[in-house]
Symmetry: C2
Subunit: 811 residues, 2 copies
Amino acid sequence: MDTETETLINGERLKPNQGLPSNSADGAIIYDSSHFQLRSRDRHVSYGSINGAVPLLENNREPEMPGRQSVTFRRLPPEMLTTLSSQFESLDYEPWESRVFKEENSRKTPSSLTKQGVIRWVVVFFIGVCTALIACTIDICVVEITKLKYGFLKKYIDKCVTENCLYIPYLQWLGISCGFAFIASLLVTYGEPVAAGSGIPLVKCYLNGINVHRLHRLKTLFVKAAGVTCSVLGGLAVGKEGPMVHSGAAVAAGLSQGKSTSLGFDFGILKEFRCDQEKRDFVTGGAAAGVAAAFGAPIGGVLFSLEEGSSFWNQNMTWRIFFCSMVSAFTLNVVLSAYHGQIGQLAYDGLLNFGKFPDIPFALLELPIFIGMGIIGGLIGALFNQMNYHISVFRRRFILSRWAKVLEVIVVCSVTVTTGFVMIYCVNDCKPLGAKDDIDFPIQMFCEDGQFNAVAAMWLQTPEASVRALFHDQPGTHNPLSVGLFFITYVFLACWTYGLSISSGIFIPALLSGAAWGRLVGLGLYRLTEGAAWADPGKYALIGAASQLGGIARVTLSLAVILIETTGNLSLGLGLMLTLLTAKLVGDCFNAGIYDMNVQLAGLPMLPWSSPPLCYGTEARDIMSKPVVVLREVERVSTILSVLEETPHQGFPLIFEDRFASPQGKQNSFGMLRGLILRSQLKILLKEKAFCTSPTGGTSQTPVPLETFRMYYPRYPTFQGMHFTEEERSSYLDLRPYLNPTPYTVPMHASLPRTFQLFRALGLRHLIVTDDNNEVVGMITRKTLARYRARICCGTIDFVELPLGGHGVQL
Amino acid sequence: MDTETETLINGERLKPNQGLPSNSADGAIIYDSSHFQLRSRDRHVSYGSINGAVPLLENNREPEMPGRQSVTFRRLPPEMLTTLSSQFESLDYEPWESRVFKEENSRKTPSSLTKQGVIRWVVVFFIGVCTALIACTIDICVVEITKLKYGFLKKYIDKCVTENCLYIPYLQWLGISCGFAFIASLLVTYGEPVAAGSGIPLVKCYLNGINVHRLHRLKTLFVKAAGVTCSVLGGLAVGKEGPMVHSGAAVAAGLSQGKSTSLGFDFGILKEFRCDQEKRDFVTGGAAAGVAAAFGAPIGGVLFSLEEGSSFWNQNMTWRIFFCSMVSAFTLNVVLSAYHGQIGQLAYDGLLNFGKFPDIPFALLELPIFIGMGIIGGLIGALFNQMNYHISVFRRRFILSRWAKVLEVIVVCSVTVTTGFVMIYCVNDCKPLGAKDDIDFPIQMFCEDGQFNAVAAMWLQTPEASVRALFHDQPGTHNPLSVGLFFITYVFLACWTYGLSISSGIFIPALLSGAAWGRLVGLGLYRLTEGAAWADPGKYALIGAASQLGGIARVTLSLAVILIETTGNLSLGLGLMLTLLTAKLVGDCFNAGIYDMNVQLAGLPMLPWSSPPLCYGTEARDIMSKPVVVLREVERVSTILSVLEETPHQGFPLIFEDRFASPQGKQNSFGMLRGLILRSQLKILLKEKAFCTSPTGGTSQTPVPLETFRMYYPRYPTFQGMHFTEEERSSYLDLRPYLNPTPYTVPMHASLPRTFQLFRALGLRHLIVTDDNNEVVGMITRKTLARYRARICCGTIDFVELPLGGHGVQL
């Protein structure tokens, strides 16, 4: 019996601590825990070592392949943009094929499967409807309150222009805007910081497989929706489309679980969807619905979700996502049509409706112009991102306290209002009234009677309306000088605004500033060609907008489709695509896209699209983390407790007890692989006290059912409040019913690309590295793989290894 | 030395044949080859056994998991619709990470990567252009010759109606049509039988990973393009859209290789794209371009290719596919616009342009009607498929000789023409001339002056024009009786026609017959509601067309998007989707879609979307093929020759020589896994005579470079013309530089769903089943997995195991 107190960690049968009485084995952890440290910068020990006994893997391995040329990854120093945070864990996308799972599965009947399938469709339907309703609510609130705000201001401006009291409307404007900005900022800063920004990067990360905490809570949803409404009402240079995508994702996560942990109620339904895999599938649909509602682009929504979310194509899921998108677009259309008094007309395809472009004459010779505009957009975008990066770094260093964040929002808001007011005051761009009749509040300012100030028209409306105006106004409507001035000021304001502690999207600011310079190009061409039919400034405004968006966000395919759907013009599709691609290529030569930069700044270990190129010489054993903390199939409770307390790992390979003593392979490995168990499962088993007294395991015991595991999802028990008696500590936990007996493994000689592909294509969380005898030699996780990057530009490749930092042990 | 003549097959070291002199070891194969037989119906031996020594795997395995409930798969008897053909092999989608590959890879520079990337885009550009040009050529030929044909006929009909000699235009019509049908049939039957039918099922199979022979040859492309032109000109109930997709795929496969084996020339360029993986990526783009050209749906094209082709999402590849689609749609637009005299107008989005639907009033209460129509479409579609199945089975049994196939085409063509003529003669549906002016050949027949025969208008134009007419004509244009009669005759003709030995698509016939009954429903609603605005017969014709297509083809998501794009109406999208989904669900209760039925009839081992449900109790060892034919790393030439001659396998696991003799695991396994080698590689190595004399392998020898392997791609050497001297036969082949050292493996206890997912997500060809010691115990290939199916309908699941038949050893 005494030999059973030996601890099997790191592949060494450690000598039991002879001096201690056997009943105190729990208190006295028999390995020296002081040796345990997370040497995060040593790439071979990043997975942690408990007793420091690093196996001599390098000395006794397979003969080296002749001519193997491993790429040298340049290790980057830890700094703001490059450090991956270790606190983010992956989602479990694979079904956990334990014995309890299989038993539950074998009890399922075809009719229960059908029922579950039907429920999925019903849930998806409601996700679509709710997402659309939230989007409608935000939109209608913004439109109505904006009308009130600018109507009020117009009254005072009109009055004060004659009475020479313009400081009054200025102060009113300042007050109203800062008031809303203050609320927006308070909500995010003090309410839910994860609701800051666009939300698209975080949703992308979630779909990529990263478990971002608090992302889908009810509170987050509320803060996001109310926050973005206030930000837009505050007149800041922000859009509301990104937050709508986040809202859709949060709605999906909430509705699909049939409970709200925040509010503390549980409908007791949809219990079978309480796992990462199902939840992520629903969130995929919710994000698509958000895109469909925000941009009126259901196909783009599907592509967005698939592109970011799907490891591989699942036809049924894709149909559901598509249905969700369609329902969302349809609901929005019904509600908005009714709101605009056209019940049943279905005239409002989406919130960001650019207005249909009629058949635009479009000649082949324009393609080079589009490419040229793509280059400009790429350059401006790269500059924008670089500035925003420096601002973000500044913020991270110096704007740390909550009140400072709120104050910054107020400052930005004041500057925005002041800039707008000064421009309206100084630039006297007068146009005759009635030339276009969709301006809500034509302000005369110093213009003659029957004219209005065109600059004021740009500032005193929602950014969406300004984009539409730049796209569709007649060639003579805008003065090049005022458009140019507007572009410069707006692009700086947008750059400063993005990253503030408010809910804010970058889509609309990018499109608006792009449309401004695009229109300038179009006006130039229009004058050069003396009004040729193809030199339509509106079309060039669209190309400029696409180019700017491509340069800033480095839009992916789905965003290209969204733009094409939003403009409703397929002929221009090729032009848009060329522009977007050029802008992306040019921008990528300088820095990353703004979303990727956000992800990197947050240290999120998002897996890129593909493994670094030319890395076939780098093998799994070069990048894997080791030593590995392993457990036995039937393990002593005290050992499990110690391991959980002293290591941050989320998954533990289990090894065969009896094969462990075999002399061969001992030196190199941590034992023969038996399965894998997760930290969360161990915690639940400890909480449930599913212990047995025999070290061979209790086969007669009824295992903890899967329902219990689902009950705890997604907030697993913590050790606070868990107490174990001495007896419990010295008893055993039989892990065999719960372990995944066939976890994914990779041979240690497998190349980095092959490892990467396996990990990414299957959406894995843990990949165990084995040697030729199927013994555990290392572990590869998302953070391992995410560290190895290649930056390709201008014919050179820079191979880098990102540092890992900010370890936080989550219990 | 003598012991080296031992053969290592099936995990047993066989005793050398002592009586033979060592120099005749080649002639006398030392295992008893008479034992070798492919017991295809025994599921455990489907991979073949050479010496019949089946390891005692079942007796000595891991302890059974308590409560494991393996699903019982009902073994189907071999019959036409259920037997999988064993002659189709998979494509190699994974890069073959051998030492020679890695060495070549490590010699690559970033600039060579960039160059390769640029070349890919250029190739993709030309694929798009060429696909569009071929589509244009087909279309213009069809339109022009149709004009001549029907113009000619109109002249004689008009003349003969008065002169009472209508048999003359009938015979003329018959003669012209049968002439074209005869050419169409000759081309396919005697030219290239693989060009028969739509091509979409075969392209889907290729993208799924099946190596369909002769699918992408130049000859196939020519026969397909010329054949479909003749079929349509023959007035048969066929469409030209499916063949265009196939043409796009063939163009891509041809252009991307830089050589034509058919014509025997080699430009010597694009050599790096000569492998299955690269070729398949290009074909994905080509198929998308084909869809874009045929339907004017670039996004639908991308989705089509991704849905069928991509194991997982690759952003770069997706961009290229999208670009290819866009270029194709754009080129087609430019050419067709120029052809129609509107140079630079870009007014022709695609060949199958249904004509834009303007904003159709569309009420929520119509959704139930759409669902009802979906049910009707599903029922009609199921009936259609069932009839077509029986016709196909009849054809397979009785219409075997080539001339019989040609004769059948002539018969069908005659019946089609006669039916059309009789209908025109008998049904006197007169409409005033000028009500619509897009009829090319209004035929008066027995109508009064100033009127034309509406039935004749339906028959004497291309099917595409008829679809447009049914969608867009005013409510009063068509007589319900004649539309109903047209529907019934056309649906039967289409059913008989599909599957003939001609190039023919099913898309247009399905849409046309669906539009006919849909319009009837619309006309009924129009009369019931006394002309309500929403009861637009054109809209219902569209819904009917979608429903019929959904019922026949069980359209997938991409086809839904294609329909939405083609109609250019997003509002109706939800309606279309509901209809399509309903039709699919209803139809699936009765039989498979027509494309799937084609695939099954051809015995193609296409992998379904997901593994059968509820199968977590079934493990890899239950389905794997064994025994496995294994080779050593350095193997005797005579052994390799024998193995290649006597087994049909395409991949051979390699085992460690030295570990083979180890006592443990011997009983259960075929040896410890060292790597995998392909039959094609062995054949090339034999052809190149890369032999060495030492059984330990020649390390000093320069290995055969990868370029040599590419040179042979895709038609590998055969044994005809290969001669080996006695000395060569007794020498050795060192396989170590060419083997894949880390092939994908799966533990034998892994569940069927997990195995399936691994295989499908990574696009594998061979999956080696290993035991806990990493020793080879079995093999899983596409054909293994494709055999296990589940048919779900009406709350029950039927688990079936398809038989495997028609083994053909390909050398």
